[in-house]
C-alpha cells in the first residue's frame, strides 16, 4: 500500500532529462526481482520535464505531478505563476503541486493567499491541485491550521506539508494538525480533501506510523492513493528492502537495490 502511495520525486537544480527518464523507469519497475509489486502513484518533477515524464510513463497509470508557481520559494508575480501552471498542465501534468506565498501569509495578507490558490486552481483545469504550505516556515501549529483552512477553502484537492527544501519538513505533529483540518472540513461539508506529507519520510516504519495516524484521524476512506500520498525519494527503497526481507527472511543491503 505504501508503495502505491508514493510520489517518486526528483526536484534538484541539477536534474537532467536522463535523471527524469531514470526516475520514470524506477516508477514503472520498482524492483523486478519481486513480481507483482504495484507502481508508485506518481512521479513529481519540475515543469520543464513534464512532457518527457508524461511520455515515459504512458499507459502505465502512473500520474505526472509537477511543481509550479515559482517552486520552492513562491516569490514571483501571480501572472508568471499562473503561466507556470498552464505550461505544466498543457504539457500533460495530471497534478500540480503549488507553493503558497509564505511572506504574504506572515504579513497577514490572508486574502491574497486565498485568491492566489483560487486562481491557480482555475488554471489547473482538470489537473488536481496540491497546495504546499511549507510548514517548516510557518512556525506554529496555529498558523499551519490557518493555512490549511485557507487552502481547503480555496479549492485545494490535496494539502501538502513541505517542499522538501526546508528543514523541518514533514513531521507527525504537523501532519496531524493538517489531517484535523481535513477532518473538520469533511464533517462540515462532506467533501474529502487529500493529504501529502513530504520530505524526511524515508523508512517503512515511519510510513506505517503515518498511515496509522491517517486511519485514526480520517478513516479508511483516505487509505488510497487518491486521497493520500507520500512525497519521497528514498522511502521506496526502504519499503522494498522490508518486503524482500519479509519474503526471504534475510536482512537486505542497499547494494542490491537501484539507487533512484
Amino acid at each position: 500500500m505504501v508503495l502505491s502511495m508514493i510520489d517518486l520525486t526528483t526536484l534538484e537544480g541539477m536534474d537532467t532529462a536522463g535523471k527524469v527518464r531514470q526516475l520514470c523507469y524506477k516508477a514503472r519497475h520498482l524492483h523486478d526481482a519481486v513480481p507483482g509489486l504495484p507502481t508508485v502513484a506518481a512521479v513529481c518533477v519540475y515543469p520543464n520535464f513534464v512532457e518527457l515524464a508524461k511520455s515515459e510513463v504512458k499507459d502505465t497509470g502512473i500520474k505526472v505531478a509537477s511543481v509550479a508557481t515559482a517552486f520552492p520559494s513562491g516569490n514571483s508575480s501571480l501572472p508568471i505563476k499562473l503561466e507556470d501552471v498552464r505550461m505544466a498542465v498543457d504539457d500533460g501534468a495530471d497534478e500540480i503541486d503549488m507553493v503558497i506565498s509564505r511572506g504574504r501569509f506572515h504579513r497577514g495578507d490572508l486574502q491574497y493567499v486565498f485568491d492566489e490558490i483560487s486562481a491557480v486552481k482555475e488554471a489547473c483545469r482538470h489537473a488536481r491541485l496540491k497546495v504546499i504550505l511549507e510548514t517548516g516556515e510557518l512556525g506554529t501549529f496555529d498558523k499551519v491550521r490557518k493555512a490549511s483552512d485557507i487552502a481547503i477553502a480555496a479549492g485545494a484537492d490535496f494539502i501538502k506539508t513541505s517542499t522538501g527544501k526546508i528543514k523541518p519538513a514533514a513531521t507527525m505533529p504537523v501532519t496531524l494538525v493538517m489531517l484535523e483540518a481535513i477532518r473538520d472540513h469533511y464533517v462540515k461539508t462532506g467533501q474529502m480533501v487529500g493529504m501529502k506529507p513530504a520530505g524526511g519520510i524515508s523508512s517503512a516504519k515511519l510510513a506505517l506510523h503515518y498511515l496509522v495516524m491517517v486511519k485514526e484521524t480520517l478513516g479508511v476512506a483516505w487509505l488510497s492513493n487518491h486521497w493520500f500520498r507520500f512525497g519521497a525519494s528514498s522511502l521506496a527503497n526502504d519499503v522494498l528492502m522490508q518486503i524482500v526481507k519479509q519474503e526471504t527472511g534475510i536482512y537486505q543491503s542497499s547494494d542490491y537495490f537501484s539507487i533512484d
Binding site: Y251, Q252, S253, D255, Y256
Partner: protein, 306 residues
C-alpha cells in the same frame, strides 16, 4: 540532614559494604544499549557469577550492521595517518586501565601470568597495527606491467562491514588481535565477544568510546554464537566474516549462509600470543584489490610507459 550520630572521620568497615555490581551492556553506534530482546544470561566461573550479560538477538545484530554501514565510508575516508593515530589512542587508553583489565581477566578465570600477558600484548598489538595503518598500502599495492599504453596499478580498498566471531578462550587479546587489523584497513566491524568470558570485551568498549573512534566503527555484542550464526552469515549488508575458532560444523553453517552475497569468510585458529600472529596479512584479508587502467602516452626514452 546531618545528624550528630554521623561520624565522618571514620570509614565504614569495608566488609559491611555491599559491592555494586556492574551491568554490562552492548556497544552499538557509540552507545551502550541493552539488548532489545530483554534476554540475559549469567556466565559463571567456578560457581562465581560474572554478571547479567546481554544475550544479543538477531535484531541487535541488525542494528549494529546499520551503525557499521553508516560509519563505513567516513572511516575509510579518514587519512591513513589519522586511522593510525586513533588506533594508537586506543592503545594509550588501554594502557591507563591495565589494572582494571588484569583484574577482570582474573575474575573470568585466567591464570595470573596469562592475564597480565593478555593485557600487555593487547596494547602492543594496537600500537603495532597503528603503525601499519599508513604502510600496508605501500607494501601490498603495486604497479603492473601491461602491454599497452596504460599506467596500470592495483591498490587495496576496505571490504566494508566485517562481522567477527572473536576467540572464546582469549577474551581480550583475541578480540583486539582481530579488531585492530580489520579497522586499520578502513573497515567497520561488529564483534561477537567470547560467550563465557564477555566482561573484558564490554569494558574494552568503554576504552573505544573514549579513544576518538567514530561511533559505529566498532560495535560489540555479547551472546550465543550458535544462535546468531545463521543470521549474521546471511545478512546481505555484511561483506566479510572472520571466525576465530575450530568448530568445523559452525564454520560450514557460516560459509553456507554467506553464499547469498558472496561474503569473504576467513577462519583463524591462532594462538594470538605468538608474535607472528600480529602481521599485515590480516589487514589484507579484509581488503579488496582494485586495479586501475590509466591511459598514458609513451613518454620514456626507452619506449616503455611506466
Amino acid at each position: 540532614m546531618p545528624t550528630d550520630s554521623a561520624n565522618n572521620d571514620h570509614d565504614p568497615d569495608d566488609s559491611l559494604r555491599l559491592p555494586i555490581l556492574k551491568t554490562y551492556k552492548l556497544y552499538i553506534d557509540g552507545k551502550f544499549p541493552r539488548t532489545e530482546s530483554g534476554r540475559y544470561y549469567v556466565p559463571e566461573v567456578d560457581g562465581d557469577a560474572l554478571g547479567n550479560i546481554c544475550q544479543a538477538s538477531r535484531k541487535d545484530v541488525k542494528n549494529a550492521v546499520v551503525a557499521a554501514r553508516k560509519a563505513q565510508s567516513g572511516w575509510a575516508n579518514r587519512t591513513a595517518y589519522n586511522r593510525g593515530q586513533i588506533l594508537y589512542r586506543i592503545g594509550e587508553m588501554l594502557e591507563g586501565r591495565r589494572e582494571q583489565f588484569t583484574a577482570e581477566l582474573l575474575r573470568q578465570g585466567l591464570p595470573a601470568t596469562q592475564a597480565t600477558h593478555e593485557v600487555n600484548q593487547s596494547i602492543d598489538r594496537l600500537i603495532y597495527y597503528a603503525g601499519w595503518c599508513d604502510k600496508y598500502q605501500q607494501v601490498f599495492s603495486c604497479v603492473n606491467p601491461v602491454a599497452s599504453s596504460h599506467f596500470n596499478f592495483s591498490l587495496l580498498e576496505p571490504t566494508g562491514v566485517v562481522f567477527v566471531v572473536a576467540s572464546q578462550t582469549s577474551p581480550l587479546l583475541g578480540l583486539v588481535a582481530m579488531l585492530a587489523p580489520v579497522i586499520a584497513g578502513g573497515n567497520t566491524c561488529i564483534l561477537l565477544a567470547a560467550e563465557s568470558k564477555p566482561l573484558s570485551a564490554m569494558t574494552f568498549a568503554e576504552v573505544l568510546q573514549t579513544s576518538d573512534v567514530p561511533d559505529g566503527v566498532v560495535n560489540l555484542l555479547t551472546g550465543n554464537p550458535a544462535e546468531l550464526g545463521q543470521h549474521f552469515a546471511s545478512h546481505k549488508d555484511i561483506n566479510a566474516i572472520a571466525y576465530d575458532g575450530a568448530d568445523n560444523e559452525y564454520l560450514k553453517t557460516i560459509q553456507e549462509n554467506a553464499i547469498s552475497n558472496l561474503k569473504r569468510v576467513q577462519n583463524y585458529q591462532f594462538d594470538w600470543t605468538s608474535d607472528t600472529c600480529g602481521n599485515p596479512y590480516l589487514i589484507k584479508d579484509f581488503c579488496e584489490v582494485k586495479t586501475t587502467w590509466h591511459p598514458i602516452e609513451k613518454i620514456s626514452a626507452s619506449g616503455s610507459g611506466y
